[in-house]
Subunit: 162 residues, 2 copies
């Protein structure tokens, strides 16, 4: 698996799984009927932020991550990141590899912390993965997320020093 | 004191104190050298969000607040708000009146929670005011804010059920 900067040519491979993940409404605080235009705008970030893809040796896009500044001004030393693994390519370490890449990127860019603003508490595999990568659950905002089958569930705010 | 929706005509009264407060770098996660164009874009929110001014009987603008959706999609029942009281008009209940207005607005709009994403912990008057209005400090992100004289200080995440 290779992780490299995403280009315009990667978008047609990203959009189908991004759309599917957002439409499921279980993990992202994005409109479930997100438009391709808006999705591309929020996912394909120009420098100094970065969007990457994880690709198989045969070129198949397995997942994607975006890395960005979380706050401006006096809090601009706090980064954030978001991750999507294509359904059907889970369980192969794609999420972990993208997470490690994002942390390395943030350190190299001079960030001091990484903060995840909204990790759905029922997304237990992701929560466990981020914890294994050093993130701590700082708090859980009760009932902040309306899950399609589980009702109102909490949103974790996760944080780590880099 | 009257609180009413801000119009384009109010911007020349808001910009000087907004600029001063942001330039001080003590309370907002915004660039200290914020441009007027960017400030206006992030402060003067169109419906369904709302920006208001608090005005004296003589028409003097004492402060301003913006109220908005905090998250999208499955978390779009969480509101947020930001507040600026003009230096020289503090201690007269302007912040409290704006805070109460924002909570009433969020309830009327059908929001279920209000979340403040980044309250600087050294801004103790604001923290005490929000607590008196029902907000709880859910966590404090250590060293997330670089204060101009106090160094790295924490950012509170505050939350309340509406």
């Amino acid at each position: 698996m290779l992780i490299r900067t995403a280009t315009d040519e990667d978008w047609p491979a990203i959009w189908p799984f991004l759309r599917q993940i957002v439409a499921a409404g279980e993990t992202y605080t994005l409109p479930r009927d997100i438009s391709e235009e808006f999705a591309r705008e929020i996912w394909m970030l120009p420098p100094p932020n970065r969007t990457v893809v994880a690709v198989d040796p045969d070129g198949t896009v397995l997942g994607s991550a975006k890395m960005n500044r979380n706050h401006m001004g006096p809090a601009s030393h706090v980064a954030s990141a978001s991750f999507m693994v294509a359904p059907g390519h889970g369980g192969r370490g794609v999420g972990r590899a993208l997470g490690e890449y994002a942390l390395d990127w943030a350190r190299a860019e001079g960030y001091r912390f990484m903060q995840f603003n909204a990790v759905v508490e029922t997304n237990t595999r992701a929560v466990a993965l981020w914890q294994s990568l050093g993130f701590e659950i700082m708090t859980t905002l009760p009932e902040a997320f309306l899950h399609p089958t589980k009702g109102y569930v909490g949103l974790h705010i996760m944080y780590q020093r880099l």
